[in-house]
Structures are given as structure tokens and as C-alpha cells.
């Protein structure tokens, strides 16, 4: 494709709009995190600090368990770091799709927001033919980050009983992220990627059942990516 025929670069506002499904997925989970943090004896400020500084869902829940059980600081920190090691793969995979000429001048800021869901949404957009732009990435990441931090604060302030009277609403909100991942999977599905997807799914199940959920995720991603090495 020549430069003239390329679609225009998506803007910050379009990135922000694209973050909407992630925002809807993050708010209930961040809210649950805020509630869990106050139940574990942490203040609203401390819950806010964890979401603002760590910004990684599952490992924040683990942080609550480790810190409230009195685990040594370095053990807790390295456990959380190991849990998020998979994020190392996201940047290169995204930039490969973005192309060789994609700018990374402001990556120090927007790449902080490269969570599982932001990565999935960005990759899906590029796979559907959208051009890469740092402004769009920043909008996408900022919407998701704001939802995560604000949801945490709302949950910590509301306290433990906020959703207890609404089990159906709570269940529906809890299904947002599985539904988002399934929809993203459908959006990038192609016959060429089927073996990769099948291997990743099967190894995730096996790793989760045999070792732990965190190991299942890391092993599933590595096995799926390794399946991509097989020439067809």
C-alpha cells in the first residue's frame, strides 16, 4: 500500500472511544478490588495507590493476600513481578503488527497502559486494518487506566456490601472480561492462526490444572507462540 492510499491515523479521541469495552470490563473488577482491599484491612488511599502504581489486576489481588498475610516485602514484590512477566511479549507483538515505520517516541508513556485487554484491543484494531498511532494508543490506555483507578476508589469507598443485593448484576458484570476476550478472539480469528489458538488454549488448561493459574497463562502463551514457529 502506498502512503496516499493508507487510511488516516486514528486520533486520541478515537482511542478513548475504543477503550469503552475495556472501561466497562474494568469498572466492576476494579470495584471488586477496592472492596477486597478494604475487607483485607487496607485504607481507600492504599487501595488507590496499589491500582495507580501497580496497575495489573490479578497481581493486585495477590498483593492483598501477600501483604495481609505478612509475607516478606521482597518475596511479595518478586511474586508479583514474576506474575506479570508475560507483558514482555506484548510490546514486540504489537509493534510487529504496527509496522517498521511506526513511531515509538512517546512509548515511555503509552506503553505503561499495555495491559492484557489494551493489548488485545489494539491488536484486534490493527488486524482489522486500522493504522497504528501513538495518540490512539494513549487514548485507549488512558481510558482503561482511569477506569481501573476510579473503579478501585469507588469500591474502596462503597465498602463490602455494595453489590450484595444485586447478584444478577454482579454476575453480568463479572462476565464482561471473558466476553471481551472471546469477542477479541473472534475478531482476530483466521484459519492460519487456529493451531496457535488451539495449542494456547489446551496448554493453558493443562498448566492451570497441573500447576497454577499464573503458570497456565504464561505456559499457554509461550506454547501457542511456539506453535507459530511450525511452517505450514
Amino acid at each position: 500500500m502506498t502512503e496516499e492510499t493508507l487510511p488516516t491515523k486514528p486520533t486520541f479521541a478515537q482511542g478513548l472511544a475504543a477503550s469503552l469495552p475495556i472501561v466497562m470490563g474494568y469498572l466492576p473488577i476494579a470495584f471488586s478490588f477496592g472492596v477486597a482491599a478494604t475487607r483485607a484491612g487496607f485504607s481507600a488511599t492504599e487501595a488507590f495507590a496499589l491500582s495507580l502504581i501497580i496497575y495489573a489486576g490479578a497481581s493486585q489481588f495477590l498483593a492483598l493476600a501477600l501483604l495481609s498475610s505478612g509475607a516478606p516485602v521482597l518475596v511479595a514484590a518478586f511474586t508479583l513481578i514474576a506474575m506479570n512477566l508475560r507483558h514482555v511479549l506484548y510490546g514486540p507483538a504489537l509493534m510487529r503488527e504496527a509496522g517498521d515505520r511506526a513511531s515509538t517516541r512517546h512509548a515511555w508513556a503509552w506503553a505503561w497502559g499495555l495491559t492484557d485487554e489494551v493489548f488485545g484491543q489494539a491488536l484486534g484494531a490493527l488486524a482489522r486494518g486500522q493504522r497504528f498511532s501513538e495518540a490512539w494508543m494513549f487514548g485507549l490506555g488512558l481510558g482503561a487506566y482511569a477506569a481501573w483507578v476510579l473503579g478501585t476508589v469507588a469500591g474502596a469507598v462503597a465498602g463490602g456490601s455494595a453489590l450484595e443485593g444485586w447478584p444478577a448484576l454482579s454476575a453480568g458484570l463479572g462476565f464482561m472480561l471473558p466476553a471481551l476476550f472471546l469477542a477479541l478472539l473472534l475478531s482476530i480469528l483466521s484459519r492460519r492462526q487456529l493451531p496457535v489458538i488451539a495449542v494456547a488454549g489446551l496448554v493453558t488448561v493443562a498448566g492451570t490444572l497441573a500447576i497454577s493459574a499464573t503458570s497456565g497463562i504464561l505456559l499457554g502463551m509461550l506454547a501457542g507462540a511456539a506453535a507459530g514457529l511450525v511452517r505450514r
Partner: protein, 107 residues
């Protein structure tokens, strides 16, 4: 403010930033151009999304049909809406609404 909590948060947060940003800043994907690493990276995206879906749905799978029904209804709603409209947002919303309604209907 609990200083242990702040120390853990800063160490884990700094590592998260490094994991997410450094490979982009250094354009580590360019080093992979044309070789096996390029094929590995191009498969990483679909593998990651498949893994995250399986990891998210796995805790909801149970032999208890009553508890499983909302998950099945929600999943079918995502598949149906995506097939009909090709929209990630609508498919996700339909899945969440269907899951919530099924939970409510089953009491």
C-alpha cells in the same frame, strides 16, 4: 500509608513499566525481522488472547448445570452477536447482559 505496601507497589509497578515499555522503546521486534523470532512474535498475539479467554472462563466452568447455564448462555450470546454484527463492543455487552439475565432467571 503502609510502607511495606508502598515498597511492594513501587517495585512491582517499576517492573510492569519495564516489561511493557522497554521492548517497545527498543523496538525489539526489529531484531527479529525475517527469522524464527518474527514467526514467534506474530503468533504471540493470538496465543495471548486465546490464553486470556481460557484463563477467564476456566474458573466459571463447573459440573453444576444450574451454575454453568449462565456461562453457556453468555458465550452463545457473544458468538451470535459477533456473527451477526461483527462488533466487539456489542458482542461483549450481549454476553454480559445474557449472562446476567440467565443468572436472574435461574434465581
Amino acid at each position: 500509608m503502609n510502607w511495606d505496601l508502598l515498597t511492594v507497589a513501587v517495585l512491582a509497578g517499576a517492573a510492569n513499566w519495564a516489561f511493557r515499555a522497554l521492548p517497545v522503546i527498543t523496538r525489539s521486534d526489529r531484531m527479529a525481522a525475517g527469522g524464527w523470532l518474527e514467526r514467534f512474535l506474530s503468533a504471540t498475539g493470538p496465543a495471548a488472547i486465546a490464553t486470556l479467554f481460557v484463563a477467564a472462563i476456566l474458573p466459571a466452568l463447573t459440573p453444576d448445570v444450574r451454575a454453568l447455564a449462565p456461562v453457556i448462555v453468555g458465550t452463545l450470546a457473544v458468538l451470535g452477536l459477533y456473527a451477526a454484527r461483527r462488533s466487539v463492543v456489542l458482542a461483549m455487552l450481549a454476553g454480559a447482559v445474557a449472562h446476567g439475565l440467565a443468572t436472574w432467571a435461574l434465581g
